[in-house]
């Protein structure tokens, strides 16, 4: 496990440097440049570091560099990022921040206990979960061993073969590098990331739930709630990719709510590099959420950060997505995909034009925006590619009873009924203030879009079988926990602010 800790440390240093270098409008615990910022800062730092390390590792491996050399490069990059951030923004330690409430301290204690219990579980339990063995750890072991791995799609060992080929390589690269730092491949090691991501859920939720305002205990409650969902803790020890998707999707929405577009795009890219499902199920909703919020807000606040940062962050998923389109699915279909991409881009440009966007594009500062418009082609391409390939794989069929079955799975079992009950109640309660708030409108669009995509997936494709067997559907729903809870807490936060405003306004 020492290797795992060293690996986490490298990622934290890298992420700390990157996170400090990124443009940021909000800081945790009101300590703008301290070492110990809010938990959201540390969670974001880890997740940014994880994405940076695995993407860089993927590119270096693709370029032909050996895994051992990659493992040497990573600490160097981490040190460079940290030094650069210190040079750009001098560190002024402020330790634990201004003040800590008792309930925040309690949350830290609970998280520490869970992390310790999780470590105990990792060391005691064997790896028995199917996808973890085949798709993630198995392929990582092949990459680590270096004998059953190839980037050539014609090779029998292409990407280590076991598991679907469109599963991204973030976890695979992470585990393989972890094996190098550890001096050997280890079954406990290959589930360590999900345990850390479980903690990250609390951090990013803490930041996101505070975006609407409201009392501090509410954001603490939100952070606790997301880690207390029983299925989340199970997945914290599973080695699956679903909890990574949940964490990145949550971080992306939290960044949108905090008006940090680059971070939102970066975490959306991290989500795309974590598993294949969210490209179709979550990413379209997040993109629409961002643009809804931006279009709604820019009229009132001209200084609203533009979409260039968001799209630029999102475009960092390009290496994997291009690899997916051109190598995994093959050049024979690429032209078709690019034609579809052209169609998607045309629709997007038309949509922008309707809001006078095209005029502003040329009037304004936005070289970034122009680059962003190009970058929008990346998610469009990706969604098209994955949607088509998935449809080809699971088939098109119509199941009219799917929405009702889905509702039964969501509300009728031990696995996650309380999450959806709370989210529905909170969204209903906060619906009116959300309609008046730009970010609130974005959240409502996201809720509608993801609901439609889930219903569509089960109603119109062979994925219906997953719904009937009540297996994979639960893991898919787990990817939405963070979004559901944060959406609900955001609505309640707006309600708090509205009540506080009413109380202060003169009679």
């Amino acid at each position: 496990m020492n290797g795992a800790l060293i690996h986490i440390l490298i990622i934290m240093v890298m992420g700390w440097g990157i996170r400090r270098l990124l443009p940021s409008r909000t800081e945790g615990f009101d300590t703008p440049q301290g070492i110990f910022r809010g938990p959201d800062f540390w969670a974001e730092a880890f997740m940014a570091g994880f994405f940076a390390e695995t993407t860089l590792g993927f590119l270096l491996l693709l370029a032909g560099m050996g895994l051992s050399l990659c493992a040497v490069v990573m600490p160097v990059v981490a040190a460079c990022a940290a030094c650069a951030s210190i040079l750009v923004k001098p560190v002024r330690p402020s330790w634990l921040g201004t003040d800590i409430k008792w309930y925040e301290l309690l949350l830290w204690l609970v998280l520490a206990f869970k992390f310790t219990a999780g470590l105990y579980g990792l060391l005691e339990t064997p790896l028995i979960f199917d996808d973890a063995i085949t798709a993630w750890a198995g392929r990582a072991r092949a990459l680590f061993g270096g004998v059953n791995w190839s980037f050539n799609p014609g090779d029998e060992h292409f990407l280590g073969r076991p598991g679907p080929m469109d599963y991204p390589l973030a976890k695979v690269v992470f585990y393989a590098l972890g094996g190098v730092y550890n001096g050997g491949f280890d079954d406990a090691l290959v589930r360590f990331d999900t345990l850390v991501f479980h903690l990250c859920l609390a951090g990013v939720m803490w930041g996101g739930a505070g975006a609407a305002g409201g009392p501090r205990w509410v954001r603490t409650a939100a952070a606790f709630a997301v880690t207390a969902i029983p299925f989340n803790f199970t997945h914290a020890l599973s080695g699956y990719g679903d909890i990574l998707v949940q964490a990145y999707a949550l971080a992306s929405l939290a960044a949108i709510l905090k008006r940090e577009p680059f971070l939102a795009g970066l975490f959306a890219a991290g989500m795309v590099f974590s598993k294949n499902d969210p490209l179709v199920l979550i990413l379209p909703g997040l993109v629409l959420c961002f643009f809804t919020a931006w279009f709604s807000e820019r009229g009132d606040r001209p200084d609203t950060p533009g979409p260039g940062g968001f799209l630029f962050g999102l475009s960092l998923a390009a290496p994997w997505l291009l690899f997916l389109a051109l190598v995994v699915y093959g050049r024979t279909h690429a032209l078709w995909y690019f034609s579809a991409l052209g169609g998607c881009a045309a629709v997007l440009i038309l949509a922008f034009s309707l809001r006078n966007f095209a005029v502003r594009l040329w009037e304004h500062r936005n070289v970034r925006l122009a680059a962003g418009l190009l970058a929008v082609s990346v998610p469009a391409l990706a969604v098209t590619v994955v949607a088509l390939s998935q449809l080809h794989r699971i088939g098109l069929t119509f199941h009219p009873d799917a929405p009702l079955r889905l509702a039964k799975v969501m509300l009728g079992g031990q696995t996650h009924s309380i999450v959806w009950l709370f989210s529905a109640a909170a969204l209903a309660t906060g619906f009116r203030p959300m309609l008046r708030d730009p970010m609130g409108r974005g959240v409502l669009v996201l809720a509608g879009c993801t609901t439609l995509s889930l219903c569509g997936l089960f109603a119109f494709t062979g994925a219906y079988a997953w719904l009937v067997s009540e297996t994979t559907v639960n893991r898919l729903l787990l990817q939405f926990y963070g979004l559901g809870l944060l959406g609900g807490f955001y609505g309640l936060g707006l309600l708090h602010e509205q009540d506080a405003g009413n109380a202060q306004s003169p009679a």
């Binding site: 339990t125 061993g145 205990w217 803790f233 309660t429």
Partner: protein, 299 residues
């Protein structure tokens, strides 16, 4: 090269197995891997041999609607089948996973677990101590906090837990709605902005205490989980096979899930190739699992 008739190692150890070993190993392996469906009629027919019943009787003439099952078993994680006979002689059955030691199994709400049963039995496991009885207060309090078996299905579905005969999630939803409704009734609709988070934290906090207790109990008993210990033993065995292969290329034959998956996983750091190119074969031939030189390699 002539085909070797003896595997280089077997699942039971590092040394070559004796002549009778491979057959025994195969039988043991198959016994673990294969589930032979139990038929009530067969069990009810009585003993398989003189004085050797195939089942354990857990209760006679018991009302099932409010009854739970208590059993004392030596291991966790094995599939058990509980059968019961209705007054008109029809047999019903259901499945549970064993948990080591004295454990309560709540079958309330399962299809057919209703009315009065003339006979309740545990199939294929003679000599197990257990009874079907109405739960006491302590039993009801103990039920939600008990250990659950560590099984692959955990990653897809949380095990259902019951309290006072009702599913635990209904209690959670009920308490959540009750707390929220009370706050709204006393303080108006605006109270929902603080009542909803408080109710959520209260319900999830309580559930978290239950879940962590159950989880720690599960991890604590992991070595008594038959499925897990079998996987661990098989994993260690497969590691030994992979070490024997060294840098030579191997071809892996198929084993049933999950052993086939684990075998491939252990060999991912060894050159794995098709049978006609491999130096060695990991094979289940000759009644055992082992690693043998590839007889077709020299052709």
């Amino acid at each position: 090269m002539a085909e070797s008739s003896t595997p280089l190692c077997s699942i039971r150890g590092e040394r070559p197995a004796p002549q009778a070993g491979p057959a025994l190993v195969a039988v043991l392996l198959l016994a673990v891997l294969l589930w032979v469906p139990w038929t009530p009629a067969a069990s009810a027919a009585g003993p398989a041999g003189p004085g050797q019943p195939q089942f354990s009787v857990l209760g006679k003439n018991v009302p099932l609607d409010t009854a739970i099952l208590s059993m004392d078993l030596p291991e966790s994680g094995t599939r058990l089948r509980i059968g019961w006979m209705s007054p008109n002689g029809d047999w019903r059955d259901t499945e549970v996973f064993s948990v080591k030691g004295s454990h309560l199994y709540d079958l309330r709400g399962r299809p057919g677990w209703t009315g009065t049963a003339r006979l309740v039995v545990l199939a294929d496991r003679p000599g197990v101590r257990g009874e079907v009885r109405p739960p006491g207060v302590l039993d009801e309090l103990r039920l939600p906090f008990q250990s659950v078996p560590y099984l692959p299905r955990l990653v897809n579905l949380e095990p259902e837990v019951r309290f006072l005969g009702l599913p635990w999630h209904l209690w959670m939803a009920g308490v959540f709605l009750l707390l929220t409704a009370t706050a709204v009734a006393l303080r108006g609709l605006k109270a929902a902005s603080w009542a909803l988070p408080l109710a959520l934290v209260a319900v999830l906090g309580l559930n978290d205490v239950r879940g962590m207790a159950s989880y720690l109990s599960m991890v604590g008993g992991i070595r008594s989980n038959a499925f897990v210990t079998d996987i661990q033993r098989f994993g260690a065995f497969a590691d030994g096979l992979a070490a024997k292969a060294g840098n030579r290329s191997v071809s892996i034959s198929h084993l049933p899930w999950p052993y086939g998956v684990h075998l491939k996983y252990r060999f991912m750091e060894t050159p794995v190739t098709s049978k006609n190119k491999a130096d060695l074969l990991v094979t289940t031939r000759n009644g055992g699992i082992g690693i043998v030189p590839n007889p077709g390699r020299s052709k």
